[in-house]
Amino acid sequence: MAKLTIPAQELMYRGHAACPGCGPALAMRLLLKGLGPRTILSIPACCWTVIATPFPTTALGVAVLDNPIEATGASISGLRAAADALGLDDVTVVGFAGDGGTADIGLQALSGMLERRTNALFVMYDNEGYMNTGIQRSGATPRGAWTTTTPVEGGRHGKREAKKEIMGIVLAHHPAYAATVNPAFPEDFVRKAEKARDVRGPRFLHVFAPCPPGWKFSSEETIALGRLATESGLFPLYEVEDGVYRLTRKGGSLKPVDEYVRRQGRFRHWSPEEIRELGDEVRARWEALLRLERETAPARAAATPVLAPAPA
């Protein structure tokens, strides 16, 4: 029988203020299961500012520091420095930011933190837009998606530009550990969170975080949509440790992207042609990832376990 690997301890409480089916809420719950109670979170302006509930209550069983939207990377450098100065060696310092607070307005501070090799974890929950302010486009919004600032009317057909590739940006800084996680695959998520807790140096997690009101789907479909995103290759699960790529979920062949697209109101205006183009794009990226895995694999001999001592 399969053993449950997910810790039972809940560090995210009931009574939080998230919408039903909120991907970022699931992300926090699983993340804290992996990281444990000695976590210090730094959270910028984002949906989670509100989800954690207003003063004097909190929905989180750990220490939380609020910081301005653009400064999470610097904040965790400061928390780490203070923890080291004060001898708090056992704490895990974590920045937990949306895609805007990570890849757009927060990019400079993130880059600074990665470059100076702060011993901390930066988590970007990717709901593909500025959701706290009411569904505006971000650099992480996918091409063609409707948002309130990329309308589908007049001459406009949703967002014109491609999604910013945060993993590429992060990996260019050579972090100690970087991985993608998806709440629809909780064992993989928690395992990577535990690993991210234990590795020293700058670490990064990119979390797939569906937003029912922002993406226009029904709140009970968050997990189904998450599974589709990974199974169709749109959000591949992988990790990169010291430059070595490893896909943590390969499965058989990729599902078509059609169902993922068709289930969301933000893509309702898409033509079959556009869906086909997305499928082509996704397959090309998937192939590139497989190639990276092959190319960065440690040399064969070292990878093969030695089963018995070689005869003398």
Binding site: P37, R38, T39, I40, S42, T49, V50, A52, P54, F55, P56, T58, L60, G61, V62, A63, V64, L65, D66, N67, P68, E70, A71, G73, A74, S75, I76, S77, G78, L79, A81, A82, A83, D84, A85, L86, L88, V91, Q108, A109, S111, G112, E115, R116
Partner: protein, 393 residues
Amino acid sequence: MTREVLSGNYAQSYAVRLARAQVVSAYPITPQTTIVEKLAEFVATGALKAQFVEVESEHSALQVVVSAAGLGARTYTATSSQGLLLMHELMHWASGMRAPVVMGVVNRAVAPPWNIGADHTDTISQRDTGWIQLYPESNQEVLDTVLEAYRLCEMEDVRLPAMVTEDAFYLSHTYEPVDVPAAELVDRFLPPREAHAVLVPGRANRLGSFTGPDHYVEFRHELARATAAVPRRLLEVEEEYRRLTGRAYGGALPTYRTEGADAVLVTMGTIGTTARTVVDELRAEGRKVGLAKLRVFRPFPEEELRHLAGEVDRLGVVDRAYTFGAAGPAATEVRAAIYPSPHRPLVADFLAGVGGRDVTPAHVRRMFDELLGAPTAETRWVDLAPEEVGAHG
């Protein structure tokens, strides 16, 4: 105690070493750079046991120390001009989070045009961010004030950030003999920070948070109470410091030869030193003039100014900062402070020394001449070149 020949910037660095700051972070900008270069050296050699966080901007530097202070560390950063302006959002975060950060600010003009000379526009533009603002006028006073700032801003009923300024070049790069107190003495004056209301790992607690109108008002009121505690606390801190070192600076508005004065000039920073010698000269000539120094700009020393207003008919305020569409900022605040007094002197407003323009004894003499003559309330630009007016359009 040792006597060292230090620049104003090094006086900051030496004070931070004596204060045993635990987390230091800064981004270089002229003329602040030598403060942090010296601190980097202290950390490298082990003279200061601190985490030195090398950042990619002033914005991040301030966030680093605000977050570090949130966990209970004693912290320091330093900047100037554009760097301070870039920090603006974080300035409010520091006070709102009650982070007792100490920051050195070398007062420098704001661009454009680019100019690295002394000018208070940078710190004046941050006066509403909840920071204590201290304006010393000598390198000795810089060192002493940084130590006093730590003691003051970590007090439980204060817990506010403080900036200790220096006029660019006049202090930052000018060397003077400075008495550096012994480490044991400073340790007695400034024990390790007591952590009040800081983040505690391992349990549910939150610093910063968000709140609606039901609590926000009270959060602001707490800040107001903390700020109101500063004047009294500063006097206590100064007295403690005087007992240990023999040095004191006379609180928030030290005065010089104001008894029986017909006119008093109010200055900030190094212009005060020049003005003091002019006061002596004029007094020797039999003219009754005096000086008051705005050593603290925030919280503004209203009570002290009202007291001064009761004793003199003419005040001249020297502003080394230009404000758009209003009188000089110090003059405006002096006027507001004395308005409730039964005796309201005329307040003249002199704009002098912006962008590092020298303010000489001759300029100060002219200001006193005007004050003792027929002063008006209109802003006077001291040392404006008439042939250049209108030529920079």
